[in-house]
Symmetry: C2
């Protein structure tokens, strides 16, 4: 099944739905309606149905969805029916926090390689993973079949590090540095700016000034 | 001017546009077209025009936008024409990374208060700010006129901490804990799950399996 042009907001909501379904499984709930999902995650039930409709027919009219079945479908759609090895570059404060972030492992993301250029950091451990020099990038990507890279280096080093990731065969990059990066069309780039989240709040607070 | 029902995705793009315009100001660029902005940030020019149209008429047909003027408008819309004092609760790895994150200060977000319950953390400093016990929350919120709280505590403590923030008069909460939190309708809650960003990547990689 090939699917194109799914809005990113839909993908992000699928992720939210899958977490809610996981919670229902833990609670022993067997079936769920789009209305239940909508209420549980705070969107409209029309939105839930529209998001799921991109991927075919899951539910049964009048009965709703089987929780475990829908959960399995969503995890597969999100690519979470497998483990992804990840290389993280930049073992500073943010890099360390991400390396130790429980939420990644829970969703099948395994930071298998952590690299830095700072001799003071190389050889230290973050969880079970030792920080290694940037030079081993190509070897580790091959050995561990890594396709995803996370960039948490200072802005001045971000493009260089990104170029190295691309050259090493990385197919998707999550960039936490505040620099607009260039990658070839064959590589997926996603920028995370943590302050954007605060700006959604300040926007809403400013409306009521 | 009161504005309602602006899609969150639009707000997030306004944030991206404003950063691009800031870059143009640094480069001495005086005017810009919606096409230039679109190309600079990687969306369609129709999208740029639609996003800006929510907030009135900014540009001049055939000339485009005055960069400094549009930047000023966007910063005001985003509530970034002022400084926001912020209380951060939870001085663990992620909390420490956020407390030291340069990107917040650049956009006018000032983490003025950092609280924790762990005696080993209380009294330590993150940047210029000393970690204080949770008990001073109410006092600090009043003294520093804080309206925004950031929650980086373990899931088990997240709802209790959120209740305390609400009680202390906080109006907007950014939650990094992996727990679905309840707040009154008068309080804006935004959940940040860092793994969602990786899932957008794995979704796209999985499409090509």
């Amino acid at each position: 099944m090939k699917i194109y042009k799914i809005p990113e907001a839909t993908v992000m909501r699928l992720s939210v739905y899958s977490r809610f379904l996981h919670q229902l499984i833990d609670e022993g709930v067997a079936t769920v309606s789009s209305g239940d999902i909508a209420k549980g995650v705070g969107v409209s039930s029309a939105q839930v149905r529209k998001d799921l409709a991109y991927f075919g027919e899951f539910g049964t009219r009048g009965v709703g969805y089987r929780v475990d079945e829908l959960y399995g479908h969503l995890m597969k759609i999100l690519g979470l029916d497998q483990t992804w090895n990840i290389v993280l570059i930049g073992a500073g404060k943010l890099g360390s926090a991400l390396a130790l972030y429980q939420g990644f492992a829970e969703r099948g993301f395994h930071i298998s390689t952590i690299l830095d250029v700072d001799p003071a950091r190389i050889g230290t451990k973050l969880g079970n993973v030792e920080v290694e020099p940037l030079e081993v990038l190509q070897d580790r990507v091959k050995e561990n079949n890594i396709r995803v890279g996370v960039v948490t280096v200072p802005a001045s080093a971000a493009q260089d590090v990104t170029d190295r990731l691309v050259q090493a065969g990385i197919k998707a990059i999550l960039n936490f540095s505040p620099r607009i990066l260039k990658v070839p069309n064959s590589v997926i780039l996603r920028n995370v700016d943590l302050s954007v989240n605060l700006e959604v709040l300040s926007f809403n607070l400013a409306l009521n000034r």
